[in-house]
């Protein structure tokens, strides 16, 4: 029976693979790129220097985290299938000057430089702060934007700080590892670091913090739009946003610097920043513009404010916003399902090999199997995933994000599956193996026809449980640049500031893809148990 189950899984493989190719390595189309299922495959141009390679493929791949939110790179709250932001427009403009199209590659913000190093994209462009200590690891462009730090507080809260000199001992939110965090800690504030910028401001509204210090664009897009909050006029510090390149890509760095300089000169940059309401005196000085006051209407900012400042009523969201997000969710659910299915096939097959090796192999093989199980069961999946994705390239093995996700989840769950099988095999009386052998069956034949079918009866229920757990654990693959369901929820939640409603939607998606397997497993369990039950009924009669 177990073999039939395996066969079933392997039949699902091509379908899963196809789905996986369709969703590919977490690329989200930015601006000019139209074909969604175009993939993200660099095999044809491998070996060329980066600048030559991107020209050969006709696309500039730029790394960013849409989870970071507005106004950098985020899903348009009015049309969530579109990726917008001032950096999207900047990337499009740079790509156009290089004569190619831009394609955004999704990656976690704090891993962007590692992904760049790995070769997942050509450059990282996502509010990266200029700092001397980055310089040993990557090349940095000239700054393209200068942001001040702005303090946002709760309106009418008497305890709230008025200036940065007033934060000592007070709970103030910020982004982890940011200039704001260093400034707050230097002044003795009770610093609260949040991964998601919307959370910084939500927690202040809920009264968990008294203020927030962040880059001006963030304060503008999350603080200024909420009437319960007040952003103070004082400007602190100065933070320069730069683009990062691999150390070997000096020609890329020069080409991009030239493009940015030209766009500063012809007013392209100013137009982008004014549209997004981001034009400020520091950036004017940086770009050599003598006019620090914005003149154009900040249309993109106003669109954002009108879309998210007031959350539409729930029914309205159910009727219009969520249906519009369905293609994105379907995409992410397909990826979650494909990764999970393939990982489970690997786990089930490898787990069986491990359990048999442990139970029937010669002593060294047994030890190896035990060592494997303890190693993979005893260390966090996140560590294994990170090692496989970022560590193996040091040994010359560079897996695609999809393969790395499948391999890491599969290797990890194989340990659990092997223990399931072992429990199942141990539940079969030893006399059954004797009986099979006395009839002339080899050990392999005895396993195949006598032991494993009986073990499956015991192993199947926990296996179903593991598959559901794996489905949920697959959310960890978002750390290696795959946009699956949980990551998409984070991205959309941050860009629409709708965490509750979208939470219900994403939970429904997990149930929709998980429940069929629960149902299938129950059926298989029933069939495995059939002999016994039918027998018992016949016996009673």
């Amino acid at each position: 029976m177990i073999w039939r189950l395996l066969l079933l899984c392997s039949l699902a493989l091509p379908a899963g693979r196809a789905a996986a190719e369709a969703v590919d390595a977490g690329t989200i189309d930015a601006g000019t790129v139209a074909d969604e299922d175009d993939g993200h495959n660099d095999d044809d141009v491998a070996g060329l220097p980066t600048l030559a390679r991107l020209k050969a493929r006709g696309e500039l791949w730029w790394g960013a985290d849409a989870h970071g939110g507005a106004p950098f790179v985020f899903q348009d709250p009015r049309d969530p299938s579109r990726l917008i932001g001032f950096e999207v427009e900047l990337a499009d403009a740079i790509a156009a000057r290089l004569g190619v199209r831009a394609r955004m590659v999704q990656g976690p913000w704090d891993k962007l430089l590692d992904l760049l190093e790995r070769g997942d994209f050509d450059l990282a462009l996502n509010g990266l702060e200029y700092s001397e200590d980055k310089k040993g690891a990557v090349l940095l462009s000239s700054p393209y934007y200068v942001a001040a730090q702005k303090l946002t507080v709760k309106r009418g809260e008497p305890q709230a700080p008025r200036t940065l000199d007033d934060v000592k001992g007070k709970a103030i939110g910020c982004l982890p590892g940011s200039l704001a965090q260093r400034m707050l800690e230097g002044r003795g504030a009770d610093t609260r670091a949040y991964d998601v910028q919307d959370d910084i401001y939500q927690d202040m509204v809920l009264g968990r913090t008294l203020g927030a210090l962040a880059d001006e664009p963030i304060a503008h897009y999350y603080g200024d739009i909420d009437h319960r909050l007040e952003t103070r006029p004082e400007r602190y510090g100065e933070l320069r946003y730069v683009i990062a390149f691999r150390l070997a890509d000096a020609d890329m760095q020069r080409a991009v610097d030239d493009a940015v300089a030209a766009m500063a000169k012809d007013g392209t940059l100013r137009a982008i920043y004014e549209r997004w309401g981001l034009w400020n005196p520091e950036t004017a000085a940086l770009l050599g513009d003598s006019d620090p006051a914005p003149h154009a209407v900040a249309t993109s900012f106003e669109a954002w404010r009108s879309a998210v400042a007031v959350r539409p009523p729930f029914l309205e969201r159910v009727r219009h916003r969520y249906p519009a997000m369905m293609p994105l969710f379907a995409h992410a659910a397909g990826l979650t399902l494909a990764v999970s299915l393939l990982a489970m096939v690997l786990a089930v097959a490898l787990g069986l090999v491990l359990a048999v090796a442990r139970g029937f192999g010669p002593r060294p093989v047994r030890w190896l199997a035990v060592g494997y199980v303890e190693l993979f069961r005893g260390t966090p999946l996140l560590v294994q995933l990170t090692m496989i994705y970022f560590g193996l390239p040091e040994l010359g093995v560079t897996l695609s994000p999809f393969s790395a996700g499948v391999v890491a989840l599969g290797l990890n769950y194989a340990a659990a599956e092997s223990e399931n099988y072992r429990a199942g095999l141990l539940s079969v009386p030893p006399g059954q193996l004797d009986a099979a052998r006395a009839l002339g069956l080899s050990t392999t034949q005895a396993l195949r026809h006598v032991l494993v079918p009986q073990a499956a009866r015991v192993s199947l229920p926990p296996m179903t449980n593991d598959f559901i757990a794996l489905l949920k654990d697959s959310s960890l693959v978002s750390v290696i640049a795959l946009t699956e369901l949980t990551k998409l929820y984070g991205i959309l939640g941050n860009s629409t500031r709708d965490h509750l409603g979208l939470g219900v939607v994403v939970a429904a998606w997990y149930l929709v893809i998980g429940l069929p397997f629960v149902w299938l497993a129950r059926r298989v369990e029933r069939r495995l148990g059939q002999g016994r039950r039918r027998g018992a009924i016949a016996g009673a009669a």
Binding site: G431, A438, L439, G440, G535, A538
Partner: protein, 221 residues
């Protein structure tokens, strides 16, 4: 003919369970192997069936010689076993229990296997339960199915391990009749391991006793 020569078997570093055992059983006869529990009767049976390797000596079954240290696999299938706990496969129907081994090992064509199994099941009055699963059968039915399962591999010798333990007298006689019927129908060599001298005297021709001095033939009709 079955011949055991100077067979010694020990588990690990402990004292041998069997020491220098010699045994010769005539072809085509039903013999009993008697002995108190703990004397190693079942271990000797497992050595004959090829389920246990041994430390010295040799086992010869129907011309196949297995020396100490050699693979015991050639004995398997040649020597059928009806285990004390029967060990029917609970996930398979009676018919599948009987046809699994010949099908898997290629001993008989699958179509022929089913027909042959049904004939054997019918000869022991259990053909009507062929589609049932072992759990649904009575103890006696199960035992007869286990015998048919062993016979399907056409063994030269059939070994029974304590087939009458924990049975009341009328059922013991039933087992005896079955064993005798198989001997008469097939002309096969049978060895019944038991600790019941009365039963052995009633249903077996030759009687061997295993004690700490070895095997002694106490009756030779």
């Amino acid at each position: 003919m079955i011949r055991v020569e100077r067979l010694t078997k020990r588990f690990g570093n402990r004292a041998p369970v069997l020491r220098d055992i010699d045994l010769v059983v005539d072809t085509g006869q039903t013999s009993a192997l008697l002995g108190k529990s703990g004397m190693g009767k079942s271990t000797l049976l497992r050595c004959l069936a090829g389920l246990e390797s041994f430390d010295s000596g040799r086992v010869v079954v129907d011309g196949v010689v297995v020396e100490a240290g050699q693979s015991t696999v050639p004995l398997r299938g040649r020597v059928g076993v009806v285990f004390q706990s029967l060990e029917l496969f609970p996930h398979l129907s009676v018919l599948d229990n009987c046809t699994l081994a010949p099908r898997v090992t290629g001993a008989i064509l699958p179509a022929a296997a089913a027909a042959e199994a049904r004939a054997l099941l019918a000869s022991l009055d259990v053909d009507e339960v062929r589609d049932a699963f072992p759990e649904a059968l009575s103890g006696g039915q199960r035992q007869r199915v286990a015998i048919v399962r062993a016979l399907m591999m056409k063994p030269r010798v059939l070994l029974y391990d304590e087939p009458t333990s924990a049975l009341d007298p009328s059922l013991k006689a039933e087992v005896g009749r079955t064993v005798r019927r198989i001997g008469e129908h097939t002309g096969m060599t049978q060895i019944v391991v038991t600790h019941d001298p009365e039963w052995a005297a009633t249903w077996c021709r030759d009687i061997f006793v295993l004690d700490d001095r070895g095997v002694t033939k106490t009756r030779d009709l």
